[in-house]
C-alpha cells in the first residue's frame, strides 16, 4: 500500500497521468462511435464497434481498479474477495446468456420465450373488442 508519505507523493503524479489517460480513451471511444474514418467494421454500429467499445471500457475500468483502487499492490485477501464477486457476476451473465443460445433449438424459443409468434400475433385471443 502507498502508505509512506514519499510513496503517496510519488503516486500523485501517477494518478494525474492515469486521469488523463482515462480522458483520452473516453474521447477515443466516442470517436469510434461518431467519426467516420474511425468507424471500424461496417457503416454504423455493429459487433466490431461493440467489441472495441467494450475492450476500451474494460481497459479503462482496469486502470481505475489497479491504480485508483490500489489493486496493483493489495493484500491477497482482497483479490480473493473481489475476485469471487467478479467470478459470480461472470457466471450470472454467462450462464443466463448461454441458456438462451442453446445449440439445440426447439419450438419458437428464438423469439421472446416462445410467447410471440410473428405468424399469429397474439392479440385479442378471446374475441372481445
Amino acid at each position: 500500500m502507498a502508505d509512506s508519505i514519499e510513496e503517496v507523493k510519488k503516486a500523485k503524479k501517477l494518478y494525474m497521468f492515469i486521469g488523463l489517460l482515462l480522458f483520452f480513451f473516453t474521447v477515443i471511444t466516442v470517436m469510434v462511435a461518431s467519426v467516420e474514418w474511425l468507424d471500424f467494421g461496417g457503416h454504423g454500429f455493429d459487433g466490431v464497434d461493440a467489441t472495441i467499445g467494450l475492450i476500451i471500457a474494460a481497459f479503462k475500468a482496469s486502470l481505475v481498479m489497479f491504480i485508483f483502487m490500489h489493486l496493483n499492490h493489495e493484500r491477497p485477501l482482497i483479490y480473493f474477495l473481489y475476485g469471487l464477486g467478479l467470478v459470480m457476476a461472470f457466471f450470472c451473465i454467462w450462464l443466463i446468456g448461454w441458456s438462451k443460445s442453446d445449440p439445440i433449438q426447439y419450438g419458437n424459443s428464438n423469439r421472446a420465450d416462445g410467447f410471440y409468434n410473428p405468424d399469429k400475433p397474439a392479440t385479442n385471443v378471446h374475441g372481445h373488442d
Binding site: G85, F91, S99, D102, P103, A112, G114, N124
Partner: protein
C-alpha cells in the same frame, strides 16, 4: 487501537437505558436474540397460514373451524372467505406468503442471523461484531421489510399471491386494478423484499469481516469450529447471490410502478383489460434466472446454519472429535461455490435447451457430493461415541435421517427427465419440506436447546423437551411423507382443493405408475390432522422457553455441557464485550477424549500444562491437533 480511544474505554460500562440495552442495542447477543424472537414470531405466523391452506386442501367445502378463523375480523372474512371456506385467491395469497415468510423472514433470520449473531463472535473470541451499528441496522431493516410484507394482508388488494417465487408475467399483472400501485400487495412484497435483501447484505458483510478480522489470538483457520466455517460460507452465499435478485426485484418494481416490460413478453392479453397497455418484449425467463440465481444458494443459506448447529452438538455429546473435520470444511467451501451454478435445475420445464439443461443437471448431481460428505461425516462421528442423549443431541440425531430423506428425495429432481414428471407436484413440496422442516428446523431446535443455558444461565426442561420432540418427529413424517407419494401420483402443488376434481375422474386419471389421484386424496386429511397436531406440540416448546427462563434448572458452571469451543469460556450469560480475560487459542475445536488429557474434553482456550514456555499460540495451524 489508538491510544486515545483507550481513554474512552470506561464509558462503555455505564448502565444503558432500557431502550438502548434491549431495543436499539448494538450488542451482537441482544441482536441475535431479537432476530430469534422476531423470526420465531414470523415462523409461527407462516405456520398458521399453512394450516389454513391445509384445511382448504383436506376440506375444501367446509368452513374454517373456529380455532383457525377466530383471528380474522368479520370484514376480512367477508372479503377473502367464501361462506367461511378458503377461496382459490385466498389460498394463493396464503401460499405465496407462507413461502416468503418461512424462507425470508423465518428460517434465514433464525439460522443465519440469530444463531450466527449470538454464537459466531463468541466462538471466535471476539468482543462483538466488526460493525456493531451496522448489525443493529440490519435487524431493523429486516423487521421493516417483514412488516411491510405482512401489512399487505390488510390492504384492499390483499397480500402477494403469485407464489413465493413471484414469477412474471403473473406477478407483473396481479393487482393491476389498484390505481396507486404502492398500495398493492404485490408491490409491497417487492419493497419488502428489497429491504430484506439490503438487511441480508449488511449482515453478510458484517459476518465475513468479523470472521476474517476478529479471530482471537491463535485461532487459525483450521482451528475454527465448523459452525464458524459454515457461517462464513453462508455469508458469502448471501453476499454474492442476493444482489442479482435485488436487481430482479427492482426491475419487477419498475414493471409494476412505471409500467415497464422487463419481464412482460409481447402480446399479453387479459379478459378484463384486453391487450395490456405495455410495450412487451420483456422476458419472463430472465426473472426466473435472476430469481433462482439467488434461489438456489438460498437453499444452502437455510441449510448450513442447521448443519453448523448439529456439527457442534454431535462432538460435544458423543465426547469424541468431529470425524473428518477438514474434509467437512473443504466440502462446505466446495458446496458454497457449486451452489452458484446449479440454479437452472429449477427451470427444466421452461423450455431451456437440452444442452444447458445437461450442464445444470451435471452440476446439480455434483453438488450432492459435498452434501453427502457433510452428512456422512456427521453420521460417522456417532460411531463408537459414548453418546449422551441430552435434549440437543436428540434433536441433532433426528436431524441426520430426516435431512437424509430430504436430500435423497432431491436426487430424482436433479435429473432432467425425472423432473419433467415430478416438477410442480407435491413430490417437490415433500422433498424440500423434508429438508427444511424436520431437517433444518430440527437442527435449529437442537441449537436452541444447546445454547439456551449460555443465553440464560438455565437449562431447558427435559420433560417438556421430550414432549416437544417425539410428537414433532411423528407429525412431521405424517405430514410430509404422504406428499412424496401424492406427488408421484401427480398431485399439483397449487391445488387449493386438494385435487378434488379428480374424484369424479376416478380410474381415468391413472398415471405411468398405475396410481390415480383419486385414491390418494384421503391422505390429505391425514396430513392436515398431522399439521394441526404439529402445531399443538409446539406449545411445550414455547412454554419451555418461557418457563425455563424463570424457573429452569440453573447451570452450575460456565461450561455446562463440558464443551471445548470458545463460547463456553464466557461468563453466563456473557456480558457486553463477552470475555473477562484475554482469550487465546491453543488447539483445534473438538479435542474430546484425548488420551493425554485427564478430562474427556480439552477446551480451546485452556493453556497447556506441560512445556508451557514452548507452546505459544502459533499463527500456523497445528497439524497434530487439527487432525486428531
Amino acid at each position: 487501537m489508538s491510544a486515545d480511544s483507550h481513554d474512552h474505554h470506561d464509558d462503555h460500562h455505564h448502565v444503558l437505558p432500557f431502550w438502548k440495552k434491549y431495543l436499539f442495542s448494538t450488542d451482537h447477543k441482544t441482536i441475535g436474540i431479537q432476530y430469534g424472537l422476531a423470526a420465531g414470531a414470523f415462523l409461527l405466523f407462516g405456520f398458521f397460514l399453512m394450516i389454513v391452506m391445509r384445511w382448504s386442501i383436506a376440506y375444501p367445502h367446509e368452513p374454517l373451524p373456529g380455532y383457525l378463523s377466530w383471528i380474522f375480523t368479520d370484514g376480512w372474512k367477508a372479503r377473502w372467505l367464501d361462506d367461511g371456506m378458503v377461496t382459490g385467491e385466498t389460498y394463493n395469497m396464503f401460499g405465496a406468503m407462507h413461502g416468503t415468510i418461512m424462507v425470508f423472514l423465518g428460517v434465514v433470520p433464525l439460522g443465519f442471523a440469530a444463531f450466527g449473531n449470538y454464537v459466531t463472535p463468541l466462538q471466535i473470541g471476539a468482543p462483538d461484531m466488526a460493525f456493531p451499528r451496522l448489525n443493529m441496522a440490519s435487524f431493523w431493516v429486516y423487521l421493516a421489510g417483514g412488516i411491510v410484507m405482512c401489512m399487505s394482508f390488510f390492504m384492499e388488494s390483499g397480500a402477494a399471491k403469485s407464489g413465493w417465487t413471484n414469477y412474471s408475467p403473473l406477478a407483473g399483472y396481479a393487482d393491476r386494478q389498484i390505481v396507486n400501485q404502492f398500495l398493492a400487495g404485490q408491490t409491497q412484497w417487492l419493497i419488502g423484499l428489497v429491504l430484506l435483501i439490503t438487511s441480508s447484505l449488511l449482515g453478510a458483510v458484517n459476518f465475513i469481516t468479523t470472521i476474517i478480522q476478529l479471530r482471537a489470538k491463535g485461532l487459525t483457520w483450521m482451528r475454527l469450529p465448523f459452525f464458524v466455517w459454515a457461517m462464513l460460507v453462508t455469508g458469502f452465499l448471501l453476499l454474492l447471490a442476493f444482489p442479482p435478485l435485488e436487481a430482479a426485484g427492482i426491475m419487477q418494481l419498475m414493471d409494476r410502478v412505471t409500467g415497464s416490460s422487463f419481464f412482460m413478453p409481447s402480446g399479453l392479453f387479459s379478459k378484463e383489460d384486453g391487450v395490456l397497455d405495455i410495450s412487451g418484449s420483456g422476458s419472463p425467463l430472465l426473472f426466473q434466472h435472476l430469481f433462482w440465481f439467488l434461489g438456489h444458494p438460498e437453499v444452502y443459506v437455510l441449510l448450513l446454519p442447521a448443519i453448523a448447529c448439529v456439527a457442534e452438538i454431535i462432538p460435544c455429546n458423543t465426547r469424541k472429535p468431529l470425524w473428518g473435520y477438514k474434509p467437512m470444511v473443504w466440502a462446505v467451501i466446495v458446496l458454497g461455490f457449486l451452489s452458484f451454478i446449479v440454479w437452472a435445475h429449477h427451470m427444466y420445464l421452461t423450455g431451456m435447451g437440452p444442452v444447458i439443461s445437461t450442464f445444470f443437471q451435471t452440476t446439480t448431481v455434483l453438488i450432492s457430493v459435498p452434501s453427502v460428505i457433510l452428512l456422512t461425516s456427521m453420521i460417522i462421528s456417532l460411531w463408537g461415541g459414548s453418546i449422551r442423549f441430552t435434549m440437543p443431541m436428540i434433536w441433532a440425531a433426528a436431524f441426520l435421517p430426516m435431512f437424509g430423506i430430504g436430500g435423497l428425495t432431491g436426487l430424482p429432481l436433479a435429473f432432467n427427465l425425472a423432473d419433467l414428471h415430478l416438477h410442480d407436484t407435491y413430490y417437490v413440496i415433500g422433498h424440500f419440506h423434508y429438508v427444511v422442516a424436520p431437517g433444518i428446523l430440527f437442527g435449529l431446535f437442537a441449537g436452541v436447546y444447546h445454547w439456551y443455558p449460555k443465553m440464560t444461565g438455565r437449562f431447558m426442561d427435559n420433560f417438556l423437551g421430550h414432549l416437544h420432540f417425539w410428537p414433532s418427529l411423528i407429525c412431521m413424517n405424517l405430514l410430509f411423507f404422504p406428499m412424496l407419494t401424492q406427488g408421484m401420483a401427480g398431485f399439483h402443488r397449487r391445488w387449493y382443493n386438494g385435487g378434488e376434481g379428480y374424484i369424479e375422474k376416478g380410474a381415468e386419471g391413472v398415471n405411468v405408475f398405475g396410481i390415480t389421484v383419486a385414491e390418494q386424496i384421503s391422505l390429505n386429511e391425514v396430513m392436515t390432522g398431522a399439521a394441526i397436531a404439529l402445531a399443538i406440540f409446539q406449545l411445550p416448546f414455547l412454554i419451555n422457553m418461557f418457563v425455563s427462563y424463570f424457573w429452569g434448572k440453573k447451570v452450575t458452571s460456565d461450561n455446562p455441557w463440558d464443551a471445548t469451543t470458545l463460547e463456553w469460556a464466557t461468563p453466563t450469560p456473557p456480558g457486553h464485550g463477552n470475555f473477562t480475560f484475554d482469550i487465546a487459542v491453543y488447539r483445534g475445536p473438538y479435542e474430546y477424549s484425548r488420551p493425554d488429557h485427564d478430562e474427556d474434553f480439552f477446551p480451546q482456550w485452556e493453556e497447556p500444562k506441560r512445556s508451557a514456555p514452548t507452546e505459544e499460540p502459533s499463527e500456523k495451524p497445528d497439524k497434530e491437533t487439527t487432525e486428531a
